[in-house]
């Protein structure tokens, strides 16, 4: 276990080598770049495996490794300390394991890109930051990882920097998540003011004795942390950045915007769960944000035509399920869904990457069609991934999602409502997912892509196949998180919930089939209804949130900045200077060399002075 520190170090070394070595020896051969980039993550994954085995064998609940004192002054003491427990181990396994597969895939996918080395180095840096995020033993260090992954997300979304639109999307992602981060930072300040520590273990230990359930301060802290979580995890009301984040290369969509970084918010809430348990209002807000987001994103996914945007909204929606799980007290269930989602969504994104690469960067699903035969591997990926995503029985997604449904139903008061929303979300998931499958893989082949051949080297095919296996079988792994997360009693099986969980995905698939498979029902005839058209437009725009933020925040900010470009305060000083100059001119004029003028002003002055003297 002493090797724990190596897990972030390997990816960091990979980043340093890939960044600095070219300065010394010139551009590296691409094979070597790929080897270093993927190898660093491979080593990290291997270390995780060894450390994990040690950890499980040791029967310890936690293992802490303090590397050095980061900053300590006054009553503030923050260490560069790593903390391993069951929760961080699950996260580590997902990050390094899935991360390794995606890195291997990238060595094929990005091989022809002229900036391949830059790509691999950013990816390595991302993994290092993400590992720090989940290993941090205090919230300041967690914040370092938190911002670090945000940086890498920015760098990789804007990876193809020659297109200004990509730069816009990258900045948007960074700034919108920064809004959440700022809330989180204020939450940390408040937490520190109240407790005098940022150490997660101490916070958890002391919170119960410091606050009563429902205390205003702890509720405020929980809400502020939630602000950070919704920013990073693209939940309402800060979800707008994730669909635009699809501007980046597809492997990063799989790694950052599906499997790991966007689930950091879920991790944060799980990690600080005692605070949320003390703040029932905040916890209820988590549940409702999750439920609302999963629905809104589901509706939006229905209307998208870009394959990656569909998957992006699907990710937003699935993270909504994780938030719902947290909110209804299915703590382990949330992490379980986080893990299975990482499997099948990474699979879907990488599969989409294969399609996009094979079809010369085509993103529009309506320009694909009939790809079942042309792209058999991608089809396999989508068949397996979609089955897991819509939670068909026996796939990994089924177990994790069904678990959440049971907990939601079992929650007193609002439970059945939340369950109903989640069920509606499941229906939507099935419809939009199989809409995509039917449109892309069935029907006649699109004439533009008649000649397409599938891009697949071993480096791309192998990770896909492994992910297929994981997406199918990942549900059989039981996570033992009881040492970290509270274990509420598992709700009893409920025939109604069970039955509907089983049936609803098939209903959704049937609907998708009727519209997009057999075309028995026509989309156009539905779209002719005025209400449907309006709804479509509204959903397609992501429920108008981008427009709203533009009008409320971005435009006024730009306007104010523009109006005040020359700095109004400076005008004050300019006027001051002007007045001085006027007075100067005035006095200069008085000195005109005219003797009569001098004499009369002299006389006038004398009279004035005399007058003043007499007056007094």
């Amino acid at each position: 276990m002493e090797k724990l520190w190596l897990i972030p170090t390997f990816p960091l070394l990979g980043f340093i080598i890939l960044t600095l070595l070219p300065f010394a020896v010139g551009t590296l051969p691409k094979k070597l770049t790929g080897f270093i980039g993927a190898g660093a993550i491979g080593l990290a994954a291997l270390t995780t495996l060894l450390v994990g085995q040690d950890f499980l064998a040791s029967n310890q609940d936690t293992y802490t490794q303090i590397l050095w004192q980061w900053f300590a002054t006054g009553n503030l003491n923050v260490n560069f300390g790593l903390h391993l427990d069951a929760l961080s181990l699950v996260m580590l396994s997902v990050i390094t394991g899935i991360g390794f597969l995606i890195h291997v895939y990238s060595t094929g996918f990005m091989f022809d890109d002229p900036s391949f080395a830059r790509f691999m180095s950013y990816m390595n840096l991302f993994v290092a930051a993400m590992v720090m995020l989940v290993l941090a033993d205090n919230l300041a260090l967690l914040f370092l990882g938190w911002e670090g992954v945000g940086l890498c997300s920015y760098l990789l979304i804007g990876f193809w920097y020659t297109d200004p639109h990509n730069g816009y999307c990258a900045r948007k992602a960074f700034v919108v998540t920064r809004v959440g981060d700022t809330a989180m930072a204020i939450g940390l300040f408040l937490l520190f003011q109240e407790m005098g520590t940022l150490h997660i273990g101490e916070v958890i230990e002391q919170s119960a004795s410091l606050w009563k359930t429902g205390d205003t301060t702890v509720t405020l802290i929980a809400f502020l942390l939630l602000g950070g979580a919704v920013g990073k995890s693209a939940q309402l009301p800060l979800q707008t950045w994730l669909p635009d984040a699809m501007a980046g290369p597809t492997p990063i969509s799989a790694l950052i915007h599906a499997a790991t970084m966007v689930t950091a918010g879920v991790y944060l809430i799980a990690r600080t769960h005692p605070l949320f348990i003390l703040a029932p209002d905040a916890l209820m807000a988590v549940a409702f944000i999750g439920a609302a987001t999963l629905l809104i994103a589901g509706f939006t996914a229905l209307t998208q035509t870009d394959i990656k945007r569909i998957l992006a909204y699907s990710t937003v929606s699935q993270i909504g399920y994780m938030f719902l799980a947290l909110g209804v007290g299915a703590w382990s269930g949330a992490i379980f869904h986080l893990m299975t989602h990482a499997f099948f969504k990474a699979l879907l994104f990488l599969g989409a990457g294969t399609i996009i690469l094979s079809l010369h960067h085509e993103h529009n699903i309506f320009k694909m069609g009939g790809m079942r035969k042309k792209l058999p591997l991608a089809f396999l990926c989508f068949a397996v991934g979609s089955a897991a995503l819509v939670a068909l029985p026996l796939t990994s997604g089924y177990y994790s999602k069904h678990n959440i449904m049971l907990y939601a139903w079992a929650l007193p008061d609002m439970g059945p409502w939340l369950w109903g929303l989640a069920l509606l979300g499941a229906l939507l998931t099935a419809i939009y997912t199989f809409r995509l499958v039917f449109v892309v893989f069935f029907g006649p082949t699109d004439p533009h892509h008649g000649e397409a051949t599938e891009a697949r080297g071993l480096s791309m095919a192998l990770p896909l196949l492994i992910l297929c296996v994981l997406a199918l079988s990942g549900g059989y792994w039981a996570l033992h998180l009881d040492s970290v997360l509270p274990s509420s009693p598992h709700p009893a099986a409920n025939p109604l919930v069970d039955g509907l969980s089983n049936v609803v995905p098939f209903v959704g698939i049937a609907i998708a089939y009727l519209f997009y498979g057999s075309k028995k029902l026509s989309v156009d005839s539905v779209m002719n209804l005025p209400l449907a058209r309006r709804a479509h437009r509204f959903w397609h725009s992501g429920w108008g949130m981008d427009g709203l933020y533009n009008a409320l925040i971005v435009a006024p900010w730009k306007f104010l900045a523009q109006v005040n470009q020359s700095d109004i305060v400076d005008h004050f000083y300019s006027v001051l200077a002007l007045i001085n100059r006027l007075i100067h001119d005035l006095f200069a004029k008085s000195q005109n060399g005219n003797l009569r003028w001098y004499a009369s002003s002299l006389a006038l002055g004398a009279v004035l002075l005399l007058g003043i003297g007499l007056w007094n």
Binding site: A72, T73, G167, R171, I186
Partner: protein, 504 residues
């Protein structure tokens, strides 16, 4: 004694550089570099002495490096030089950035090189005097010594609008400096009435302040005299408008020195004089000052975003960053003061790097306008990477020095005013908006035809490498600096005890 040597070294290095031009115009830069290198060596030698007990240091006798020489005995004016850990860190920063400034000027300054390096060295000598002078009159003397050569640097080697900028810089600093002089003289007279002998000795003033000799009402006005002088230098809203012009018009080395070092003299003055000499008045004034700090943070950020000129953008971002320092100094907790010092160092490094790069861009492309740039990463990847690094430092990315500073400032000031800190934290959102815009407008976007940027050369690369290494070092291992400052800012020390009582 060693401090006196240090100042004399730079003064005479400047004179020597001026004279050397008549032999060979390339010599002055070597002389400047050499004198700064010697100064750095001297400072490095001094390092072990700074584990001093600042508790005792306050009385004056315990300051290891103290140097006293009568100057104008009739008015009790002495040459007193001394340094504690705050001075020491500022000396290191000034001398180090002095080297960077010489490196930045290396190829850029071709006319009247001798006089240029003369001015550069004299500014630095003045700054070192400011950071070590413990006689109030001497302090004011160095305040002026720093000002005039800087005026020449802007007025002679500056860009298209240089004389306007130089005069503006001069008037702002001079007028506010006169307010400080007035405050110093009034203070000296008041103390003389009390003790019967006139003295400008900082340590005696401190004792007097402790005994509460000065009438509280009057001390408020005196405090304002000092505060305005330092707030102009910082600069704090609403006294900031000289800065964008001066920074933009100054030659690269001038901008580096202005942003990296001269702004820090304002913060130093607040820490050294305003808080300890006027504890009650500062306390009463703290809400106003903290509000000005917060306004500076957001106002600077918003103006930075609006700029089309790369140097102006960086200049306004400096205002934003120094707002954190004002906020922290008047919040006054140990953590906040540590954050202020850390931000001073971090901003010194990052703004020096940013101005050096902005200057290099102007030197190569002959423009500072964003509209004339774009897509330059292709031709200058190393340049782009360095710019990216310091933009990230400016937006407060954890792991870099600026984050440690800002984090300590905010978390340390939170106790004093949760509302103001929460508003100040909005700066965390505004900073990436302008910082990332720099990357977008200069290095990203489509490559333009016929536009290419020669990449950093060996001299510039090593400059950047040094600044990057220091920024990373302070970001990951800030404890070395924090430990050095801790005894001075610790509440057991009275100076800080006064400061911590500022807002309660």
């Amino acid at each position: 004694m060693i401090l006196a040597y240090l100042i004399v070294l730079l003064f005479s290095g400047g004179v020597l550089a001026w004279l050397a031009e008549f032999i060979n115009p390339k010599w002055p830069r070597w002389i400047a570099l050499l004198s700064l290198a010697i100064a750095l060596l001297i400072l490095a030698n001094m390092a072990p002495q700074f584990a001093i007990d600042t508790q005792a240091a306050r009385t004056g006798e315990a300051w290891d490096l103290i140097f006293i020489l009568p100057w104008i005995p009739r008015f009790g004016i002495e040459i007193i030089l001394a340094a504690d850990s705050l001075s020491y860190l500022m000396l290191l920063l000034s001398t180090g950035l002095g080297v960077i400034a010489v490196a930045a000027a290396w190829d850029e300054i071709r006319q009247r090189t001798g006089f240029f390096y003369f001015n550069l060295m004299w500014v630095l000598a003045g700054v070192i005097g400011i950071f070590t002078a413990m006689d109030m009159f001497l302090f004011f003397f160095f305040w002026e010594v720093m000002l005039i050569p800087m005026y020449f640097i802007i007025a002679i080697w500056g860009h298209e609008n240089r004389s306007y900028a130089a005069i503006k810089f001069f008037i702002f600093t001079q007028v506010s400096g006169l307010l400080m002089l007035l405050a110093i003289i009034v203070m000296a007279i008041l103390l003389a009435q009390n003790s019967g002998k006139i003295s400008f000795n900082y340590f005696e003033w401190l004792q007097a302040a402790e005994q509460g000799v000065i009438d509280p009402k009057l001390s408020g006005y005196l405090m304002l005299g000092f505060f305005i002088a330092f707030a102009v230098k910082l600069p704090s809203f609403p006294f900031h408008t000289w800065l964008p012009d001066a920074h933009t018009q100054a030659p690269t080395a001038g901008s580096v020195i202005l942003a990296g070092i001269l702004l820090k003299t304002g913060a130093y003055g607040l820490l050294r004089f305003v808080l300890p000499l006027f504890p009650e008045a500062s306390q009463a004034f703290a809400p106003v000052a903290m509000t000005l700090g917060v306004i500076s943070i957001l106002y600077g950020a918003s103006l930075a975003f609006a700029q089309q000129d790369v140097k102006r953008l960086i200049a306004y971002s400096s205002i934003s960053h120094m707002g954190f320092v004002t906020l922290a100094i008047f919040a006054g907790t140990t953590v906040a003061l540590q954050g202020a010092v850390m931000t001073m160092l971090a901003h010194g490094l990052s703004s020096a790097a940013l101005f050096a790069m902005a200057g290099a861009i102007q030197h190569r492309l002959h423009t500072r306008q964003f509209n004339d740039m774009g897509g330059l990463w292709q031709s200058a990847p190393r340049f782009g990477a360095c710019m990216l690094f310091f933009c990230l430092a400016a937006l407060g990315l954890p792991g870099l020095a600026n984050f440690v500073g800002e984090f300590l400032v905010l978390i340390g000031s939170f106790d004093a005013s949760p509302v103001l800190v929460s508003i100040a934290a909005l700066g965390m959102i505004a900073a990436p908006v302008y910082a990332l815009m720099v990357m977008q407008k200069i290095f990203h976007g489509p490559q333009r035809e016929g536009l290419s940027l020669p990449d950093l050369n060996a001299r510039e690369s090593s400059m950047m490498a040094l600044l990057i290494a220091l920024t990373l070092y302070l970001g990951f291992f800030p404890q070395d600096v924090l430990s050095l400052m801790e005894p001075m800012l610790n509440p057991t020390n009275q100076v800080a005890a006064i400061a911590t009582g500022v807002v309660q």
